[in-house]
């Protein structure tokens, strides 16, 4: 049982890709971000010390499968297909899809992107949403990128009219580079959530304990404080697994 193993070891080992601001990032070479602060609190509730590791996304899920670490504390969007393969915690953040444009780009609402070109990180849950949105809107071009950074760079270079991503990410981007980017309000599509994942076998009790900790952190207001700090606004998260 994973929970027992972790308690016995006194530590929980995790991996994430530390370039997904504001969730995971490096500040002066140190791991920082919403994700880290939240996980620190959860680990405290469990009574273990967290150990963080930076891995490229390509080796995170394989690493999880060969037990190189206990938990993926990267924000993973909850989708039905993924739930079949991995065990998710309760949501840790909103992941609804939104748009960002070049400053003064002329989009006033999401619908304005009809007939234009939008960039998105390939293979994300947000990409699926964007595709669905394109169909309802009656068509715009979607360009896939390996990482959001490249999509942002291409937006700045003028090859894209907008980049789609999760609302918290884009808000942070616009906050950090207000001279270049601005968000297009409001988010669109169905509500989606980020959560953490681990292996399915032997993780029930661990997931339960972490969910309890997450609820507690939300109830006593610590979560809202972190949300204010990193996203600029506080929003309530579901305290049960949302239906997908």
């Amino acid at each position: 049982d994973m929970l027992e193993d972790i308690k016995a070891a006194g530590k929980i080992t995790t991996a994430t890709e530390m370039h997904y601001a504001p969730f995971d990032m490096l500040e002066n070479g140190q791991y920082a971000g919403f994700n880290k602060e939240l996980f620190d609190e959860v680990a405290k509730e469990l009574g273990v010390t967290p150990e963080y590791q930076d891995l490229p996304w390509a080796s995170i899920l394989p690493g999880l499968e060969v037990s190189k670490f206990d938990f993926v504390n990267a924000p993973v969007t909850i989708t039905p297909e993924r739930m079949e393969r991995y065990a998710f915690t309760l949501p840790i953040s909103d992941a609804t899809v939104a748009l960002v444009q070049r400053k003064g780009g002329g989009l006033t609402k999401p619908e304005d992107i009809k007939g234009k070109t939008v960039g998105i990180q390939k293979g994300t849950a947000q990409e699926k949403q964007l595709e669905a949105y394109s169909e309802t809107l009656g068509g715009f071009t979607i360009r896939g990128y390996g990482s959001p950074d490249e999509a942002y760079a291409d937006l700045a270079a003028g090859r894209l009219d907008a980049v789609a991503g999760s609302a918290p990410n884009l808000a942070y981007l616009a906050k950090t580079r207000p001279d270049v980017f601005e968000t297009v309000q409001p988010p669109f599509g169905e509500p989606k959530y980020f959560a953490w994942v681990t292996r399915k076998e032997g993780s029930e009790s661990l997931i339960e304990a972490m969910n309890a900790a997450l609820v507690k952190i939300q109830d006593d207001g610590r979560l809202a404080a972190m949300q204010e700090k990193w996203f600029g606004t506080a929003t309530a998260l579901p305290k049960e697994m949302p239906a997908m």
């Binding site: 991996a15 070479g29 930076d54 080796s59």
Partner: protein, 215 residues
Amino acid sequence: MFSFQTIIDNLPVLAASARYTLLISGAGCFLGLIFGALICVAAVSRAPSARAFAGVYVSFFRGVPLLIQLLLAFYLLPLVGVNVPALAAAIFTVGLCAAAYISEILRGALNAIPRGQAEAAMAVGLAPRDIWTRILLPQALKISMPALVNELILLVKASSLVTVVGIVEITRMSQAIASATYRPLEIYLTAAFLYLAINLVIAALGRNLERRLAW
């Protein structure tokens, strides 16, 4: 638009991450040259088994991308009960991979050495080890120096792939900083200059050696 401040702010962290790049590529170069020479000797040996081994070695290490070799070393070896620390796995994989390329470069250079060179050494009675280290390899080294420097520089840059086993060297660090600051151009250029600095040193050493090997 272009922010020098970003560069100044992040340079110390980036430079600190360069120590992994230096360690892995330095040790990798060393291993690569030694193993490369050995594989080359095997490749031109008169023993069929040695030649076959060299053939398979080169075919594997050149054929499978380094990234996948690293993943194998990191994720597959544990499955068969060999658990190596990430850094050691990275250094060995990088070095063994470079050896495949280096052995081929040296083999080509050997083709350009007249047969009489080794014959004269054999006639004098030099042992195979001396024939290699005193007669053939020095000449092969001179002939192939520019190509070897190529390979070593590629190795420095290939060391960025070790991020897949969780080592944060220059490239990884710059990606992380880029996505935190949303200033990839500035950060990547800084990283490029760090690589350039390391590689200029290698190139200068190579040129120097090349001049000294002129005869």
